[in-house]
């Protein structure tokens, strides 16, 4: 280039300042967000991080597959695809082209509890992405041909993720037995195939109009930004959009009976059998933070990695498993889930494996934790918060997911404090509750008969 435009000089100066090594004072929370709400009800979260002159801009809609009307499963996710089809102002992929022109990256995601859209771009393009996202919040234009093509794309996505994947098919069958009949968590996010294949433009627009509104959305902006600028821009672009004042979301907490029991899927393509047991447990919706923190510690102690009790006993000592562990999700808008899982060594049947898992859990219940075990676990969990701050995007995703599931920010920000407060008795109580909970499902993934276990 021959001349350097003035804007370049200013940007470079700003960039080198922005990236200059700084020591940030230790602050009390995990990500230390700044928050405010627009007059139309849109919640806004700002996470300033000046490591690189980039920004992550996210809009989370409190509308996921669990908010779909009966018979229209898959419409939330289909709509997510259709949101890229254009508006009057930015038709036919103009949004994506504009973003790509500015070196930005984008994607979207649908979950049971929310649907989100995000862009990563140079920090000085924030207004551009805000304008585009605000435009498609209420101005989406869809024609029937677009819907038909995109439905085909989603059917291929379903083929890739589910039809071609025995493990995924097993998870769907298990979910139907772990949750009551017709509970939204009992159906796949991508939808039941016949319902998905029958979705129309009108179905998509109906879901869009009833759920996509500023008072049903959370704006999260992370990166090289200043909260005052975000406030000004959010007010300018999202502020004018009218609130929808829609009915509150129906509760997903229920004490209706479940089928439970066991679910087995055999497939000729299964080469590594698997066993898991999922148990309903409190989430931040229906649980207290003391119990949730205890469950996190329990998960870490029992099955959180290669030094956990299940791994040590089943994989190393007894060598009955190739892998073994646990999983705990407290982030659902409905109930949470605690899961045990293990993959057997060849020749070991799944019931033997299950007995080994239960035996190890019972041993912890009977004898409690070893000296220093709780302190070591707490220290390692709390360190995770420091590492979480290192990646610019982590705070945005974590806080966005919490708020979109109707959980408070304190669930994230006070997490280290909750972990530090956990006692050995809390862990024992949590384990006793997990073992005693009747709402549970065992899942078994096996090859077809005659091929060994």
């Amino acid at each position: 280039m021959t001349r350097t435009p003035q804007i370049l000089v200013a940007l470079l100066a700003l960039a080198s300042l922005a990236f200059a090594p700084t020591t940030v004072q230790a602050q009390s929370g995990v990500f230390n967000p700044q928050t405010f709400t627009l007059d139309n009800g849109m919640q806004v979260v700002v996470l300033a991080n000046h490591r690189a002159p980039v920004v992550l801009h996210m809009v989370w809609y409190k509308a996921g597959s669990s908010d779909e009307p009966k018979g229209k499963s898959g419409v939330a996710h289909l709509l997510e695809h259709l949101m890229f089809k254009g508006t009057a102002k930015n038709p036919d992929g103009a949004f994506s082209r504009a973003l790509a022109k500015h070196g930005g990256q984008e994607n979207a995601f649908t979950n049971y509890d929310y649907t989100g859209y995000y862009q990563s771009v140079a920090a000085d393009r924030l207004e551009m992405v805000m304008a585009l996202e605000a435009d498609r919040m209420t101005n989406l234009v869809l024609d029937a041909a677009d819907v038909a093509t995109e439905r085909d794309v989603v059917l291929e996505e379903r083929n890739q993720r589910i039809e071609n994947n025995p493990g995924a098919r097993l998870r769907i069958e298990a979910a139907q037995k772990l949750f009551p009949k017709d509970h939204p968590y009992g159906r796949p996010i991508i939808g039941w195939r016949p319902e998905l294949a029958a979705l129309t433009r009108e179905d998509a627009l109906a879901f869009y109009k009833s759920h996509y509104a500023p008072d049903n959305a959370i704006l999260v902006v992370a990166g090289d930004v200043d909260v005052q600028d975000v406030k000004r821009l959010a007010q300018k672009h999202y502020g004018p959009i009218a609130a929808a004042n829609a009915a509150p979301r129906t509760s997903l907490i229920t004490d209706a009976a479940i089928e439970g029991g066991e679910t087995i899927l055999q497939d000729e393509r299964v080469r590594q059998p698997g066993w898991s047991e999922s148990v309903l447990q409190p989430s931040y919706t229906n649980g207290n933070v003391k119990r949730i923190a205890a469950l996190e510690v329990l998960h870490e102690a029992l099955g959180g990695g290669a030094t956990s009790r299940l791994y040590r006993k089943l994989v190393i000592e007894q060598a009955v498993a190739v892998n073994a562990g646990t999983y705990y999700d407290s982030g659902a808008r409905g109930e949470g889930r605690f899961m045990f899982h293990a993959s057997p060594q060849p020749g070991v049947d799944l019931d033997t494996l299950a007995a080994a898992v239960h035996g190890e859990a019972q041993r912890l219940l009977d004898h409690g934790m070893m000296d220093g075990e709780l302190a070591r676990i707490k220290k390692r969990l709390v360190s995770a918060a420091v590492f979480a701050r290192d990646e610019m995007k982590t705070g945005a995703w974590t806080i966005g997911a919490a708020l979109a599931a109707d959980h408070p920010i304190s669930a994230v920000e006070n997490w280290p404090e909750h972990i530090r407060a956990v006692s050995e008795q809390d862990v024992q109580d949590a384990l006793a509750a997990v073992l005693a909970e009747p709402r549970r499902i065992v899942s078994k993934l096996l090859p077809t008969a005659g091929e060994g276990s």
Partner: protein
């Protein structure tokens, strides 16, 4: 309109902001070990990536999976510490230490809070120079690897890629799977593992990148303590150069699947090819841009044939490839392949305009800084810069290099590289109306 043009031009040239802002320092330790460092004291932690030249492609015949098994077991006990004790110390101190075997290189990463950095670097030294390879952990990791091999044998994408590489590189180490086979993994002995560590990991084939809360002086000390004890040089870390043998064959691997996985490719430029950047821009237009490429537009957007479709340059140390994939229903495989080949031909014939070039270049330069969002990611880039010999000022130069690619360059490289009739195509599934053609 002149004002708009100035603004757009400013955006294009304003993009190298990261280049000026990320300061890469060349650190040479007292013992002569080099590392590239980006100092960042924002968080009390540091991340280091390192790579030794020579990877799974050098696994001896009959012992494919050796480098991968070594990577999996070097952190399972070292020095005085048994496997459990070593892992416990890592976990308790929130230290991440991992090794990984790729086709061309043997790499690793270390991540630690500042106040445990001494312990972290000491544990790295032990893993590199005194790994125990005790019977139990070796057997355990072998069984985990074999379990993964079995699962992969039914993963259509993996099956397809393996078949593609076997065809391209018959007789060369690149045709072997890096994790090996059930038989070859069983054949690996602790002696093989000890020999691997003793002969393949040397200061002479090492590249290091570090980001975080550390000064050059302190880093120098730690580099010497961890890597200093390694031998100065390693023999036998070079595999021969090899050109991909792409003939336009079609191989159908029948599996009872609803969706077929298609994988396709032929030769492409290596990283140091004079036209590498032109090829990068060309591929972005054809198949790389996720919402904007020709393949995305024709296969997914317009016809709904696939959820996933794309292709990329795939440079290896001793060869170069262009490889792509698509997943589509069995009945539509033929149509999908025909469209991909058509787009391949169109680009090879030079059907590309300036606007497409400008848009691709703005994306490639503008999106680069987006990956600089954690210490880990930046450390990895620092190692890649060294392994590919891009120069310590690469971050400053990259935007200008991309900016210099012309339409003529793109047309020339498209004509040289792309040949639809030479695309080897592997289909895993039950494609209708598609048969193998050797």
């Amino acid at each position: 309109m002149r004002v708009a043009q100035l603004v757009i031009a400013a955006f294009i040239f304003a993009v190298p902001f990261t280049a000026q802002a990320v300061e890469v320092t060349r650190v040479i330790s007292p013992g002569g070990i080099e590392a590239w460092l980006v100092e960042d004291h924002a968080n009390p932690l540091l991340a280091m990536h390192f790579a030794f030249a020579g990877g799974a492609e050098l696994d001896p015949p009959g012992k494919a999976g050796l480098a991968n098994l070594a990577a999996s077991t070097m952190d399972e006990g070292a020095g005085e510490l048994s496997s459990e004790a070593f892992q416990q110390r890592l976990t308790d101190n929130a230290i991440t230490l991992r090794f990984k075997a790729g086709l061309d290189g043997f790499s690793g990463n270390l991540k630690t809070l500042t106040d445990t950095e001494d312990m972290a670097f000491e544990m790295l030294r032990q893993a590199l120079t005194e790994p125990r390879f005790d019977t139990e952990p070796v057997a355990r990791l072998k069984s985990q690897i074999v379990s993964g091999i079995r699962r992969d044998s039914e993963n259509p994408g993996t099956v397809a890629f393996d078949a593609l590489f076997k065809g391209f590189f018959a007789g060369h180490g690149y045709a072997q799977r890096s994790d090996g086979t059930e038989q070859s993994v069983a054949a690996i002995t602790p002696h093989d593992l000890r020999n691997f560590v003793a002969t393949r990991l040397a200061r002479g084939n090492l590249k290091v990148g570090v980001v975080g809360d550390i000064t050059p002086e302190r880093l120098g000390q730690l580099l010497d303590s961890s890597f200093g004890p390694l031998p100065a040089k390693s023999d036998g870390v070079h595999a021969p150069e090899v050109a991909a043998q792409a003939t336009g064959r079609v191989e159908v691997i029948t599996k009872d699947l609803v969706q077929s996985n298609i994988v396709f490719g032929h030769g492409g430029p290596k990283r140091d090819h004079a036209d590498y950047y032109a090829a990068l821009v060309m591929n972005h237009i054809l198949a790389g841009g996720s919402f904007t490429s020709r393949l995305y537009s024709e296969v997914r957007e317009k016809r709904g044939l696939a959820y996933s479709v794309g292709a990329s340059l795939y440079p290896l140390d001793h060869s170069g490839l262009v490889v792509g994939s698509a997943g589509t229903a069995n009945a539509r495989v033929g149509e999908t392949i025909a469209i991909i080949k058509n787009e391949w031909r169109r680009m090879a014939a030079g059907d590309v305009v300036q606007q497409e070039l400008d848009d691709a270049k703005t994306y490639i330069t503008g999106s680069f800084p987006l990956s600089f969002t954690s210490t880990d990611k930046i450390a990895r880039v620092l190692v890649a810069m060294q392994v590919n010999r891009l120069g310590i000022d690469y971050l400053d130069k990259r935007a200008a290099i991309i900016g210099a690619v012309t339409l003529a360059d793109v047309k020339r490289v498209a004509a040289q590289v792309l040949d639809a009739d030479k695309l080897d195509i592997i289909v895993v599934g039950k494609p209708e109306g598609v048969v193998s053609k050797p």
